[in-house]
């Protein structure tokens, strides 16, 4: 019998919740919190910039979902590769993208990751091993499967990971990627970010059977985790990665969470039941991780202030940067034959389990 | 009838400058029209002979109605059809034959397999047309194409025909020499050069200005008056921003423009502050009880004229509207009498109809002030409700500018006068 994803048990929000992972040092715990704080601070700043008319187009964020991208990315090695979705800014931060470049990206400035060619979180910095999403969802599931296919063909102990939302599971590329990964037993991790709504469409109108259960039909496991617990997401991803690089094939992880802002800055979320929203407000992932870090006798307020200062500086730098030169609008359509080959490069991998260079333990 | 602004639905023909049979050059004024937004001249859309006038002077028609027909296949100097009884020209405009519609039965094979033939129009021998390459070669070699025997369809002159003429003269057609980009080492890729620099579009040579002409008499006269005013008056300008919501409602109700309504409010303020309804001439200060309101009327590039509404204080907005329209019409048709343009005690100028925001008008001597009415633009403004709460609302706003003579009055009075106009406009009784 299918279970609704909202039935997944999420523990009560105690002062210092027990950790679901035994693989995290105090530094890891602080690092997870810091990345989530940074993601939230950057997105809040960006929303302000948007309201001040400095962000063209609309603005999309991952408010309330910080644990999903931060937790999963924390488990990824430097040589692993990621396809990052629009609510997963934390992945870019963990991999080493600079906040000022992210804010410049939102504002369409020259220093943005895409130099103004694309907006929002529609970016990937290839120097951190990340491919930016496209708006057609979940196209990147196939790209991630393709990377994993290359790793497997070359017999490299690496894996690929991508996120996608509950709405994406209705499209054909979900099936093609799940099937492909299952048939070829690829070292890929699919993180289904179930945030209850695809724009305004609730999950009960999206699928009859929870997609995590479909994984079995493709020949690999599907697991559900509390998507508002960074350490739980980390642990599930760590286990999935171990399976992947040891030849065990793909994993579908459903991170159950809630989109606490509208689909975009223009969306008032009037379709979200108040009770549901209030229920999730009690489960804020940053509050949860803050309690854990506070229990380590670490000054969380000082950490917040440090993050705020970092974002202030990043914002000032981004605002001082120029817009792209209109003369460059038609540049870089094709890569020249004689130019240096560009491939995805290694990103940061701060988990203590990888050692100082982000290598495997 | 041209659309003289998005909201204009109709217009009245005021005058025909051209009569049937006249030769009309493209962009030459063919008639004058009046709409509730603007009175203007209508330039001819094409060169040709005016065949018929379809809308008589004084008639009001909807935007889009054809005003007249111009035969574009006529030639200057040729007799008009009515003069020699020849049949009227075949086409008023040279429309191409319609392409096969989407419902045409699988037409592409035949469409794609034969060059299009010209249909209708004169035969090839009467008006020969030449392809671009034939004209270019003929120009380069001084070939008179009328003398070339054409071997193409219906005697059309082909490239090979004109080249044969050049060759017979012993000339050579520079073929290989001008192959575009043929000698470039790399092919010019589409993506690398989406735009091709025009051949020979080198740096421009020394600028040769066109020949100058003496100013018109009207421009000279305007110049004298304006310079004299600036040398005489101590001109200052004060601005005020006014919410014209109520004027907008009123003008729609009355089907008139905003100008007479604002003029009516201005007249009220002039009666309250008569020191502005005055002349200052050789230190003699004359304050008037009667308001003779000057209204600046633009005459296109020719200049402007300021006809006067006498006894304006006794006129309703509708009455003012009628008088202003009548004067403007006569101004543009050059039918004003000298009395119509003398004796103004205060002037309103209204360039805002063209969208401008602010100006510093020059006082018409010997008056002591002039009011400038600029464009009515919707703006976000802070409004306060009956409970004292503020909110941002979208309101039609206008900036009124008053140029005044510091010899006759001081800034405080100018400001009080403008405040009075503002109060009258914003509380306009509906």
């Amino acid at each position: 019998m299918a279970t609704s994803s909202t039935d997944v048990h999420i523990g009560p929000d105690t002062t210092a919740p027990e950790s679901p992972s035994a693989q995290l040092t105090p530094d890891d715990r602080v690092g997870l919190l810091r990345a989530m704080l940074l993601m939230r601070a950057i997105e809040e700043r960006a929303m302000n910039l948007y309201r001040q008319g400095k962000v063209p187009g609309s603005f999309y964020d991952g408010f309330g979902q910080e644990a999903v991208s931060v937790g999963a990315t924390w488990a990824m090695a430097a040589a692993d590769r990621l396809c990052v979705l629009h609510r997963d800014l934390g992945a870019h931060l963990v991999r080493g993208v600079q906040p000022s470049n992210i804010l410049a990206q939102y504002m369409g400035r020259e220093a943005g990751i895409t130099s103004g060619r694309d907006g929002n979180v529609h970016f990937g910095d290839y120097r951190t091993g990340c491919v930016g999403m496209v708006s057609m969802l979940p196209d990147m599931m196939l790209v991630a499967a393709g990377m994993a296919m290359a790793f497997k063909l070359r017999r490299e102990p690496r894996c690929a990971l991508t996120w996608f939302g509950d709405g994406s599971t209705s499209r054909g590329d979900f099936h093609e990627a799940m099937n492909w990964a299952g048939v070829q037993q690829l070292p890929v991790i699919f993180v289904l970010e179930n945030n209850q709504f695809a724009y305004s469409t609730p999950i009960r109108q999206q699928f009859a059977v929870n997609p995590v259960e479909r994984a079995a039909g493709y020949g690999f496991p599907g697991v559900s985790v509390d998507g508002n617990d960074a350490e739980a997401v980390f642990e599930a991803t760590r286990v999935a990665r171990e399976r992947a690089i040891s030849g065990g094939g793909p994993t579908l992880i459903e991170a159950v969470t809630m989109r606490m802002h509208g689909h975009g800055a223009h969306d008032d979320m009037k379709y979200v039941p108040k009770a549901l929203f209030e229920e999730w407000r009690q489960k804020d992932p940053i509050d949860r991780q803050s309690a854990r870090v506070a229990a380590l006798q670490i000054d969380v307020e000082a950490l917040r202030a440090e993050v705020r200062a970092e974002v202030d500086a990043a914002s000032a730098k981004a605002l001082a940067g120029p817009m792209p030169d209109p003369a460059t609008a038609t540049d870089r359509l094709f890569h020249p034959r004689d130019a240096e080959q560009i491939l995805l490069e290694d990103g940061q991998a701060p988990w203590s389990g990888f050692g100082p260079m982000g290598a495997r333990p | 009838m041209p659309q003289m602004g998005v909201s204009v639905a109709e217009g009245t023909v005021v005058d025909w400058r051209k009569q049937p049979g006249d030769w009309v050059q493209a962009d030459e004024t063919i008639c004058e029209i009046s709409t509730d937004k603007i009175d203007t001249e209508v330039p001819a859309p094409a060169s040709g002979r005016l065949v018929e006038v379809l809308v008589a002077v004084g008639a009001t028609v909807d935007v889009g109605v054809t005003l007249a027909r111009i035969a574009t296949d006529a030639r200057p100097g040729e007799p008009h059809s009515s003069e020699n009884g020849a049949p009227p020209p075949a086409a008023a405009t040279a429309l191409p034959p319609p392409p096969a519609g989407p419902d045409a039965p699988v037409a592409a094979p035949s469409r794609g397999s034969a060059p299009p033939r010209r249909t209708g129009g004169a035969g090839g021998s009467v008006s020969r047309r030449y392809s671009p390459v034939v004209q270019r070669i003929a120009d380069e070699h001084g070939v008179d194409l009328d003398e070339v025997q054409g071997t193409g369809r219906e005697g059309r002159v082909q490239k090979k025909d004109v080249m044969a003429v050049v060759a017979a003269r012993g000339g050579r057609v520079g073929s290989a020499t001008r192959a575009p980009d043929a000698d470039a080492a790399e092919p010019v890729l589409h993506i690398e050069s989406p735009y091709r620099p025009g051949a020979g579009a080198s740096v421009s040579g020394p600028y040769t200005p066109p020949e100058g002409r003496p100013l018109s008499r009207m421009r000279q006269a305007i110049g004298v008056h304006m310079k004299q005013s600036q040398m005489t008056a101590a001109t200052c300008t004060t601005w005020i921003e006014v919410d014209v919501s109520r004027i907008e409602i009123a003008r729609r109700k009355l089907a008139i423009t905003a100008l007479p309504l604002i003029a009516r409010c201005t007249i009220g303020a002039l009666i309250e502050f008569p020191l502005l309804n005055a002349w200052l001439e050789n230190d003699v200060h004359t304050v008037h009880e009667q308001v003779n309101l000057g209204i600046a009327v633009a005459l296109g590039e020719d200049g402007l004229i300021v006809p006067v509404v006498r006894g304006a204080q006794d006129l309703s907005p509708e009455g003012l509207s009628r008088r202003i329209r009548d004067l403007a019409r006569r101004a543009r048709s050059r039918q004003l009498s000298p009395d119509d343009v003398h004796g103004a005690t205060f002037t309103i100028t209204n360039p805002g109809q063209f969208g401008s925001m602010m100006a510093t008008p020059v006082i018409a001597q010997p008056q002591v002030a002039i009011l400038d009415v600029e464009a009515i633009v919707k703006r976000p403004v802070v409004v306060t409700d009956q409970f004292g709460d503020d909110a941002i609302a979208i309101r039609p706003m206008v900036i009124l500018g008053l140029s005044w003579d510091h010899r006759a009055l001081d800034g405080a009075l100018a400001a009080r006068f403008l405040a009075s106009v503002k109060k009258r406009v914003e509380s306009y009784e509906l």
Partner: protein, 321 residues
């Protein structure tokens, strides 16, 4: 040099590059054990193994999408659509993922997508299309369409080596019908046009299978000297070669096997109208398939596809103009 069919030349190009570069792998439906629907990869799995000659699930979006992923981590995948028509199922991955990756984030996508295209053998509406213009219209993709065996091999190698996504149009009706001398070993054909026959009175501009139809149609046509320009590459389009041919000949017939509206030839016609105007001695004439699906029955199909007779008649009319 050895004589081989267009089809064998494609195989030869793939094999040559696979031997030279271990990053090259082939992906497609039924290309391994079976050797491909048209046997282009016949024998490949024996030489290169199932990892590099990959039989994929029936999933065109999957083929292109995973190829993109493999490319950005260092492989050089060559994807086969079993028929060009089926590329519509992988369209999104080509247009939105592969085509825009470099422009957006500076990451080149080195993939080649082979599209067996074209009609002339009663393939019907889903096995006869020439969808090259779909890709010409979408930025970031190169589009090539060889007409000879020599170019088929040279363009295949050049496409694989090009760091950008290349749509390789291979015409099914040329597979075994066209033969030619093909150089041994590795060589590249440039992405530029080729003069298939010199001429001065009129130029027929075309590509793919229509090059052969045009050559036949204009051979010995009323003693006229007719040039045939084989575009070979549609993106980039060899504008200099086109304008040079227009300058020399002044009369132009453009032939597409594709449906007429917005076909590759429409772009050529627009280019000539804008930059070749002064050289024209007559209207730019187009011959193409009318805007209908390619019908199945031989009589209907022949009525739709540009034929020797239609091209011949168009040239004759224009020569007389």
């Amino acid at each position: 040099m050895s004589e081989m069919t267009y089809l064998r030349a494609i195989s030869d190009g793939l094999r040559t590059e696979m031997r030279d570069d271990e990053r090259v792998l082939l992906m497609g439906e039924d290309i391994g054990v079976y050797g491909g629907a048209f046997k282009v990869t016949d024998g490949f799995i024996e030489e290169f193994g199932a990892d590099r000659v990959m039989d994929t699930p029936l999933a065109e979006s999957g083929i292109v999408g995973t190829a993109v992923g493999a490319a950005v981590v260092g492989l050089r995948p060559v994807c086969e659509m079993q028929f060009a028509d089926f590329v519509s199922c992988g369209f999104d991955q080509i247009i939105n993922v592969a085509g825009k990756m470099l422009y957006r984030q500076g990451l080149p996508v080195n993939i080649t997508v082979r599209l067996p295209s074209g009609g002339g053998f009663s393939g019907g509406p889903f096995h006869s299309q020439n969808p090259e213009a779909w890709f010409m219209h979408s930025p970031g993709l190169k589009v090539v369409a060889p007409s000879t065996a020599e170019d088929a091999k040279g363009l295949m190698i050049a496409s694989i080596r090009d760091p950008n996504p290349v749509i390789y149009m291979e015409h099914k009706n040329l597979y075994r019908r066209v033969k030619g001398e093909v150089p041994e070993g590795s060589y590249e054909t440039p992405f530029s046009a080729r003069v298939a026959r010199e001429g001065t009175d009129l130029v027929v501009i075309t590509y793919g299978a229509m090059v052969h139809t045009a050559l036949e149609a204009t051979e010995d046509l009323d003693d006229a000297s007719i040039m045939v320009l084989d575009l070979r590459s549609l993106v980039p389009l060899d504008e200099a070669a086109i304008l040079s041919a227009v300058h020399d000949c002044s009369k132009v017939v453009i032939v597409d096997e594709a449906n007429q509206t917005c076909a590759a030839g429409a772009q050529v016609a627009a280019l000539i109208a804008e930059f070749g105007f002064e050289d024209l001695d007559g209207p730019v004439v187009r011959v193409a398939s009318p805007d209908v699906p390619i019908p199945f029955s031989p009589t209907l199909e022949a009525a739709v596809l540009p034929s020797v007779d239609r091209i011949r008649e168009a040239c004759r009319q224009l020569l007389e103009y």
